[in-house]
């Protein structure tokens, strides 16, 4: 494998790994805080058990998130030294604030995990909330750093020199808000559906239904609300991309020629050699509307982008299709759930909906990874959009392929172990938390 490709793959692998753990570490504390709150208010032991069961899972994910994050902060330099040499002082602001947020998160987590029966109960609850809030803050900050790579700001680029650096302006670049909003929603959607799905599975298997139903409900409410907001925020992102990165938009839509009005393609097979798409369903004018809010507007195609500045089209297009497809599906499931809630019907009588939730366990995460592929691969060949090419940023050290193989093996085994541990946690739920009262409260809800 060529070193440049290896470096890109290793970066993608590490980030793709970290993001899953980071999202769980970021979102689960909120679920826990809700269930913890219900316990403190109602004294219903089940909520206490849910909180405790979740907190064990979170500790596992948190530690894995933390070590993979530590890895990343070194990897930026190990793989992209030329990039960091210039970018560090410019986009470093969010990272330094993030450091503070992480620290608070780590401290609060120490209190939360080890503070049962030792702290005032509301202070204990509060530390759990702090874990969530600071996790979310760090997520937003690090996305702001990524947004800067898509939409550089806060410096003047003169004769290859980076002058008049202003890290605050760099942090509040044009892309940060849409990206951070979409990312936060994605984190809640993906984690919410995964958690709700696991509990739905247990309900279907009739194991501790009381426990699992209460847990399901907390996760499902978060997940469904965010899944409905997700496409709206995605539309904002798309309009934003059309403004600042026309090449990325063209690649997302596999739009080889500039068109006015431009159709939206659904599905389709990209033929990169002959620069065309076959077997796609075309919705006339829809792309013009999505990108510019007007059915007649012109949308720039790849023909207007110099050949050496075009991102890989097929990957970006497929990834975008996957994200939007899953996004639509999750939105429909959510709407179905809302209708049930409005009609005050219990989901326990709707096996098919529970089954859909089970099906959705991995979907949110697949959409999330696909979304990042759109953003990151769609930015190629630039590492700092319009300023520095990725190829010029890579480390001079040869042999990165070996490092890529090694880290792939490490991440793969970590994934296996975490899944194994989680499986054991869930298997132990009946033993640890069986209250011997499959109570009537299940139906009452």
């Amino acid at each position: 494998m060529d070193d440049f490709l290896a470096a890109r793959s290793q970066m993608a692998l590490s980030l793709g790994f970290h993001i899953i753990y980071a999202c769980i570490g970021m979102v689960m504390p909120f679920f826990m805080a809700v269930s913890h709150y219900k316990w403190l208010r109602t004294n219903d032991e089940v909520y206490k058990n849910i909180t405790k069961a979740w907190s064990k899972g979170v500790a596992i994910f948190f530690a894995t998130g933390a070590v993979s994050g530590t890895m990343l902060s070194f990897e930026l330099g190990l793989l992209w030294p030329k990039f960091m040499e210039h970018a560090g002082p410019i986009f470093g602001m969010p990272f330094s604030l993030e450091g503070t947020a992480f620290f608070i998160e780590a401290i609060a987590l120490g209190f939360f995990l080890y503070g049962w029966n030792k702290l005032n109960k509301w202070f204990h609850w509060f530390t759990g909330v702090v874990v969530g809030v600071s996790g979310l803050a760090s997520g937003i900050l690090v996305v702001a750093a990524n947004a800067w790579m898509n939409s550089p700001a806060g410096f003047d680029f003169v004769d290859g020199k980076y002058l008049n650096i202003d890290p605050i302006a760099a942090m509040f670049n044009k892309a940060w808000f849409t990206q951070a909003l979409h990312m936060c929603l994605a984190a809640f959607t993906a984690t919410g559906f995964a958690v709700a799905g696991v509990h739905a599975l247990m309900i279907l298997r009739k194991q501790n239904p009381d426990f699992h139903y209460k847990a399901f409900k907390i996760a499902a409410v978060f997940a469904t609300v965010c899944a409905v907001l997700q496409p709206i925020s995605g539309d904002l992102s798309a309009k934003d991309v059309a403004q600042r990165q026309p090449a990325k938009l063209a690649a997302m839509e596999a739009l080889y020629t500039t068109q006015k009005p431009a159709p939206l393609l659904v599905g389709g097979i990209v033929d990169e050699k002959n620069k065309k798409v076959t077997h796609a369903i075309e919705i006339p004018g829809a792309l013009s509307f999505l990108a510019h809010g007007n059915f007649k507007a012109e949308v720039k195609g790849l023909d207007q982008i110099p050949a050496d500045e075009q991102p890989p089209v097929a990957i970006t297009h497929y990834a975008f299709q996957i994200m939007v497809g899953i996004g639509t599906l999750l939105m429909l499931i959510s709407l179905g759930y809302f209708i049930l809630l409005l009609r005050k019907k219990s989901i326990l009588d709707r096996k098919w909906l529970l089954k859909l939730f089970v099906l959705a366990i991995p979907l949110g995460y697949i959409a999330l990874e696909a979304g990042w592929v759109v953003t990151e691969v769609g930015r190629q060949p630039w590492i700092i959009y319009g300023i520095m090419k990725t190829r010029d940023a890579v480390t001079p050290m040869p042999g990165i392929a070996w490092s890529f193989y090694l880290f792939s093996a490490i991440y793969a085994s970590l994934n296996v172990i975490v899944i194994f541990l989680l499986y054991r946690q869930i298997k132990m739920v009946p033993v640890l938390y069986n209250q011997h009262k499959f109570s009537s409260s299940v139906k009452a809800n």
Partner: protein
């Protein structure tokens, strides 16, 4: 503001060395504990470091972030020429961090525990070893930024006797810190005796490896002797370190256990001062005789300003909270 940032950088490195080091040391002690006593040691240890575990490792992140925001040239030089040891250290960090949590949270306690334990103790050894190797290479002047073959550029910069000796010395210091810390944490006399033995053992190891560092420095032409002994601050730091060591063993005989950790921390701080003061503010010494200094390699004004404020405000948020965490979990469980 430069001074604020440099102070924070030094502080973060020092605290990582002391707190993270003690934490690595706990695993090293486990490695040198006989099979039959391990589970007891492990229990004391996990009670002692569990709650502060995440926080201790944050100091590394803070140091790295300060480096890449404010001293990008230093950060990138290290990441290019010390790529291999950094990668090994990272693998150590990953393995250790996950194994520690996995063994604590595995719902079923079976043979897997042994696997986590093995990973934990070996990575507790490897990680500080490579941290030490990296530290040794940074100051040794062996990094060759003009080399034109793989081995000279990416291997011999860190694979040399001096760096390895510093690595072993670091391991011994971590073990020493942990043993002293655990003496104050153990509740039974037998166990306390065992940790005192370990502290003695690590102390002897540190002296031997320390001597090795000087010997290696002599053969590898690292002017360590000059830095430490021909410089007033360096010399006084060494004297203070030795005095505090004597005091430490004296107090131990008297049965005072909690104050020991302050002395041990002080001692390690003095050792770091002795080694680094003479070439401060130079952070990396290169083979061609030039050096990257904290003052010259610093980022532009506005970045320094913003980072400085972030650090100061951040510490107002963090320190009280962190202090309370340490305080709260010092109180023994009933």
């Amino acid at each position: 503001m430069e001074y604020v940032i440099i102070t924070f950088l030094c502080l973060a490195i020092l605290l990582y060395f002391l707190l993270g080091g003690a934490d690595f040391g706990a695993g090293i002690i486990e490695l040198f504990t006989s099979q039959k006593n391990r589970s007891k040691t492990r229990k004391t240890m996990s009670q002692a470091i569990g709650p502060v575990w995440e926080a201790n490792h944050m100091w590394l992140i803070i140091a790295v972030v300060i480096l890449f925001v404010a001293f990008p040239k230093i950060y990138t030089t290290m990441s290019v020429y010390l790529h291999i040891p950094l990668a090994i250290m990272l693998i150590g960090i990953i393995a250790r961090g996950t194994a520690f949590v996995f063994r604590h949270y595995d719902a079923v306690k079976d043979k897997m525990q042994e696997v986590y334990n093995k990973i934990f103790i070996y990575s507790s050894f490897i990680t500080p070893l490579f941290l030490g190797i990296i530290a040794g290479s940074v100051i040794s002047g062996k990094i060759d930024s003009e080399a034109n073959n793989f081995a000279d550029a990416y291997v011999y910069g860190w694979l040399n006797w001096f760096s390895i000796a510093v690595g072993l010395f670091t391991v011994a210091l971590c073990g020493f810190l942990a043993a002293i810390y655990l003496i104050g944490e153990s509740e039974e006399l037998v166990e306390q005796q065992r940790f005192i033995k370990k502290a003695e053992f690590m102390n002897v190891a540190a002296v031997i490896f320390g001597a090795m560092v000087f010997t290696a420095a002599y053969f590898e032409d690292v002017p360590l002797y000059k830095w430490v002994f021909q410089n007033q601050i360096g010399l006084s730091a060494v004297i203070l370190a030795s005095l505090s060591l004597i005091l430490l063993w004296f107090l131990l005989l008297k049965g005072k256990t909690k104050i020991l950790r302050i002395l041990a921390g002080f001692q390690v701080t003095m050792i770091l001062v002795a080694i680094s003061f003479a070439h401060f503010p130079n952070f990396i010494q290169l083979k061609n005789g030039s050096a990257l200094s904290l003052f010259d390699a610093i980022a532009p004004f506005k970045t320094v300003q913003a980072l400085g404020w972030a650090l100061v405000l951040g510490s107002f948020l963090i320190l009280p909270f962190l202090g309370y965490l340490f305080y709260k979990f010092q109180q023994k469980e009933e």
